[in-house]
């Protein structure tokens, strides 16, 4: 895993939400704009994930995740968007050459980090369910269509 850079060289993302290309705007927005200017609140060095938030307000944060892309970010964005506790969420890839993605989460009161964690947990549960359902469907298909038939189909091609 690549080492994260030290704080000063990082682009400062908080407080006002930058224009994320694929973001929705729910009716309610939090007071992120009134926060003290950009603090890197709870970020720790040497990790693959950094949280850029404010010290005083834990309800709005940007999570910077290295070595991830649209694959994870867009799925998480979808799950976050379906969470009633989320006031705003969106993600962006700051530069196509950078191997990282920023996920912005603003909530209606809960800590952004917890909400993000819950969403990831939900996504995982959903994936497990997809895998289970898929396996059952395949087994069922195999039962209804004995393999001999499939091989014949293959040969015909």
């Amino acid at each position: 895993m690549r080492e994260s850079e030290p704080t000063p060289s990082l682009p400062q993302i908080a407080p006002s939400p930058p224009s994320f290309p694929s973001a929705s705007f729910p009716p309610q927005t939090t007071g992120a704009a009134t926060d003290p200017p950009a603090q890197c609140g709870t970020h720790r060095q040497g990790e693959a994930i950094m949280e850029h938030g404010s010290v005083t307000d834990s309800t709005a944060s940007t999570f910077s995740i290295v070595e991830e892309d649209h694959t994870l970010a867009n799925s998480v964005r979808f799950v976050l968007n379906q969470d009633p506790r989320v006031a705003f969420c969106g993600y962006s890839i700051p530069h196509p050459a950078d191997n990282k993605v920023n996920i912005r989460v603003q909530t209606t009161g809960d800590p952004a980090k917890d909400v993000l964690k819950d969403s990831l947990q939900d996504l995982m549960v959903m994936c497990q369910h997809v895998r289970g359902t898929f396996d059952t469907a395949v087994t069922q298909f195999r039962q209804n269509n004995p393999t001999g038939m499939n091989i014949d189909q293959n040969k015909k091609k």
């Binding site: 799925s75 980090k113 995982m124 959903m126 994936c127 997809v130 359902t133 469907a137 395949v138």
Partner: protein, 377 residues
């Protein structure tokens, strides 16, 4: 095939649409669950939890709700190709699976070519590139990744050799992928440095045991009839290749799929009855025969939607006679796609069967979540 298509179409038509009690008005429900395609490009609506909060309708999708509604129907499953319907899933997740299938499910592919002799007309680097793209019949789950400083062992490297020559005076020889010979004992090329006397000659790999002992079946190439090169009389190729584990993100040769794609289920709705000559015209217009004619008796005919799954949304049916996008039938025929119904197709290159590939892809997305969760806490 068409039989299966009809079967699953019926299934989707009958099924009740998600929301049970509080129903949205019809036009909003269509907006929520369908992508409507008029003459213009479809506009993408964004769905979030509170979208219909003002009407007292909860639009959130909890994991429970998702699990209750999610369905998979397999339409076709062969050795290296499958099609299935995923119902009740968002495009973002379907797309994640697709992206992972193409770029992040690992396979084995030839990464190093040790060229001992190449007198053919095909240049070393071109030959190497061709070799790299040959699909290997090796289960990647049995191997480990090799990093730059690792020693190639039986756990992370597969060695093949290619030793072909065309005798003087004989006709031209075509070298096929089947000529690659698996070396379960590892490399046979001695290292340049002189080995200590008595010791086993050092080679480019250090296998501690034969791969025959750790693998259930012998390794080979998936297709034996891929042309690698052609040799003229007197030309020869002698080389050894090392295949390692990798992912499609690094190089497409590691991609386990020829391609993987999905499309949303098309839905064709006739808003008014289309009869007689108009019906004939509509049927004739459609290049994929979505519509059929139903005989109403007493000499009347009516157009019906018979095969909506075949629809490609070409919009011929709503186009006017001179090709204008909003033709006279635009009010009669509505083309839609079901927002949460995906027809997913996977074409495997052969390392793993397609159903295994999908399972692996889902598992990789899970691992991604897991990693981020553990990093967050």
């Amino acid at each position: 095939m068409p039989k299966k298509g009809t079967k699953s179409r019926k299934g989707t038509d009958d099924e009740p649409k998600q929301e049970e009690k509080n129903k949205l008005p019809e036009h909003l429900e269509v907006q929520r669950t369908r992508v409507v395609c008029k003459g213009d490009a479809p506009t993408e609506g964004f769905q979030y939890a509170g979208a219909f909060a003002a009407m007292g309708i909860d639009n959130s999708v909890s994991a429970d709700k998702f699990c209750k509604n999610f369905k998979v129907v397999v339409n076709r499953l062969t050795e290296d190709d499958m099609e299935f319907d995923m119902i009740g899933i968002d495009a973002s997740m379907a797309n994640a699976f697709r992206r992972i299938l193409i770029a992040e499910v690992p396979t084995m592919a030839i990464e190093k070519v040790l060229m001992a002799d190449n007198t053919s007309v095909i240049a070393d680097e071109v030959l190497s590139h061709r070799l790299g793209l040959i699909p290997l019949d090796a289960d990647p789950r049995l191997f480990e990744y090799i990093s730059e400083n690792d020693v190639p062992t039986e756990r992370n490297t597969i060695v093949y050799k290619l030793h072909v020559s065309c005798k003087k005076g004989s006709p031209r020889l075509t070298v096929k992928s089947g000529d690659l010979e698996w070396l379960p004992e590892g490399s046979q090329l001695p290292l340049a440095s002189p080995a200590q006397s008595g010791d086993k000659q050092k080679t480019y790999t250090s296998f501690s045991q034969s791969q025959k002992d750790i693998l259930e079946k012998p390794l080979g190439v998936k297709f034996k009839d891929i042309t690698i090169a052609r040799l003229g009389p007197g030309q020869a190729i002698e080389l050894e290749v090392h295949a390692v584990k990798g992912i499609g993100k690094v190089h497409a040769k590691w991609s386990p799929v020829a391609t993987a794609w999905y499309r949303m289920l098309p839905e064709v709705v006739l808003r008014e009855e289309i009869k007689d000559a108009d019906a004939e015209m509509l049927v004739a217009k459609c290049p994929v025969n979505v519509f059929d004619i139903e005989d109403l008796g007493n000499g009347e005919k009516r157009a019906v939607v018979a095969r909506p799954r075949a629809c490609t949304l070409c919009r011929q049916c709503v186009m006017g006679p001179t090709g204008e996008v909003m033709g006279p039938t635009v009010e009669q025929v509505e083309l839609r796609r079901v927002r949460d119904h995906f027809i997913f197709t996977i074409e495997s290159t052969g390392a793993l069967p397609p159903e295994m590939l999908f399972t692996e892809a889902v598992r990789i997305l899970e691992e991604k979540c897991e990693r981020v969760i553990s990093e967050l806490s």
